[in-house]
């Protein structure tokens, strides 16, 4: 799109985009480290994730302030207004992703028993999937690429499906050996958090759609996370 007659307005929008790219990179790193910290039970790495969350929170505050200031100064219209609103919303999604990653890292401290190999593999796989989703949606935002954003939006069901199977797997472990209940509960929360991170990535994708098209995505997203409506008895029979 052509530049504004007032160049400083372009600078404002550009710097917001740069701040969001930095924040997005940080969130990606936090997510990767938290999954690694948990599956390898690396407490040092977990602590560094917990500490780094403050940086993400500070970035959200800075982006929000910058966006509000720009709205006040420039009275943006149409695509500019959307760009500013969307930057605030994406910053808040990224902040939530940071919180969830921190929560995953915290759980490395919560249990001492080793994680069964199959489970840690599933956990890593889910981490990889959500990382890929987050990376792709951030790239889509940087390029204002709706097609790629929609790809992220559609692929969230893969994460949901994986979460579903891990949920069942964890239940099986717990049924077989009650001593596993502690570890498995923590892992259940951790994987739920990673699944939520996927949801935030799709929120960002929806915002990219709105940013580019000027209207909200009303279509219902395919959902595969059935754990909240799965009766306990049906999982035992498996």
């Amino acid at each position: 799109m052509a530049d504004h007659t007032v160049k400083a307005f372009d600078d404002d929008l550009d710097s917001l985009k740069t701040m969001l790219a930095t924040m997005g990179g940080l969130a990606e790193e936090q997510l990767a480290n938290s999954v690694e910290a948990l599956s390898r039970r690396d407490l040092k790495l977990a602590d560094s994730v917990i500490q780094a969350d403050d940086k993400i929170d500070a970035m959200e505050a800075a982006i929000e302030e910058k966006a509000i200031l720009t709205i006040a100064k420039r009275q943006p219209m149409a695509s500019d207004l959307r760009a500013l609103m969307v930057s605030i919303r994406i910053a808040s999604d990224l902040e939530r992703i940071g919180d969830l990653a921190k929560n995953v890292a915290k759980r490395a401290h919560a249990f001492t028993d080793p994680v069964p190999r199959r489970l840690s593999a599933s956990l890593e796989r889910m981490g990889k999937l959500s990382q890929a989703q987050l990376k792709m949606v951030l790239d889509a935002y940087a390029a204002s690429d709706v097609e790629r954003a929609m790809e992220v939006w559609r692929h969230d069901e893969d994460i949901d499906a994986l979460y579903n199977s891990i949920f069942r797997e964890l239940l099986t472990y717990m049924l077989e050996d009650p001593r596993m209940i502690g570890t498995c509960t923590h892992l259940l929360f951790a994987t739920k958090n990673i699944e939520r991170i996927g949801d935030h990535a799709t929120n960002i994708a929806e915002n990219i759609y709105y940013l580019v098209n000027g209207r909200s995505l009303r279509e219902e997203r395919p959902k595969k996370d059935m754990t909240s409506v799965t009766p306990f008895s049906s999982t035992i029979e498996k």
Partner: protein
């Protein structure tokens, strides 16, 4: 009004406001020429009753020219020619048999710079009803003057000095006096050509509040350079560029997601 021929306009759907309010004015394939120069090109638009329509666009885009065509103000300009059809309530305003004076009593106008007559506040408002013979007697005329001043939100401020010259008022008050003068003859339509561009923000806010009140009863058309003002006061927004009506639509949509790139560029400050 189903045969809306928006030849130059790209809107996906007819504006919602035109479904809620019947069109008061309809223009069809209007062209305006100043001598050789064509100022308005093949313009068609429906203007809703009891709503505010805003014309926006860069200087020289034809928005004021078109506004003036709506009450035949261009008649007085030598070499100005209007073709096409402009109707008010289905009646062609360029009909040869039509009395222009009567037409302008139905279509009031407010200008960029407040232009009160060099007479008292009272006389400024009483002048129109008097020459059009709208008042039965002095009491009736007093009533019309007071009502008009009240509607224009000015009575409280001037009731103690109603015999003082209109020019003694502040700029914002003068503009509201001009609006009171315009509504004193009970028009159906009020055209406003940049009514706030000479006013400070508080006076502007008062005029905007007034416009909001007036749209309950009148069809209002406003030309403005301030995009924010158009966004604040209008229901329908029409974007003009180089004599062409580029896009017309509900204000809500025009300022959040315009369809046309030229509209987008203009309202986001990328050209002009």
């Amino acid at each position: 009004m189903n045969d809306m021929s928006f030849k130059t306009v790209l809107t996906p759907a007819a504006p919602r406001i035109l479904k809620q309010r019947k069109p008061k004015m309809t223009a069809k394939e209007v062209n305006v020429y100043y001598g050789e120069k064509q100022a308005i090109k093949d313009l068609s638009i429906n203007i809703p009753d009891r709503a505010v329509s805003a014309f926006i666009g860069p200087s020289g885009c034809g928005k004021s020219t078109f506004l003036r065509a709506l009450n035949r103000m261009n008649d007085t300009i030598v070499g100005c020619r209007v073709t096409g059809e402009i109707k008010v309530d289905g009646q062609d305003i360029y009909d040869r048999d039509l009395d222009v004076v009567q037409l302008r009593a139905r279509i009031g106008m407010v200008f960029q710079k407040p232009n009160p007559f060099p007479k008292s506040i009272y006389e400024n408002v009483a002048y129109g009803p008097r020459i059009h013979g709208l008042a039965k007697d002095k009491t009736d005329l007093d009533r019309i003057v007071h009502e008009s001043l009240t509607r224009a939100g000015l009575l409280e401020e001037v009731k103690d000095r109603i015999q003082q010259p209109g020019t003694s008022l502040s700029g914002g008050q003068q503009q509201r006096l001009c609006i009171a003068r315009a509504i004193a003859v009970s028009p159906e339509i009020i055209l406003m050509d940049e009514p706030c561009s000479a006013l400070d923000p508080i006076a502007t806010a008062k005029i905007e509040e007034l416009i909001h009140e007036l749209k309950q009863n009148y069809c209002i058309v406003i030309v403005t350079h301030s995009m924010q003002q158009a966004a604040r006061v209008s229901d329908l927004t029409a974007f003009f560029h180089l004599g062409v009506l580029v896009e017309v639509g509900d204000t809500d949509e025009m300022f959040t997601s315009p369809q046309e790139k030229r509209t987008q560029d203009y309202i986001t400050g990328r050209f002009g």
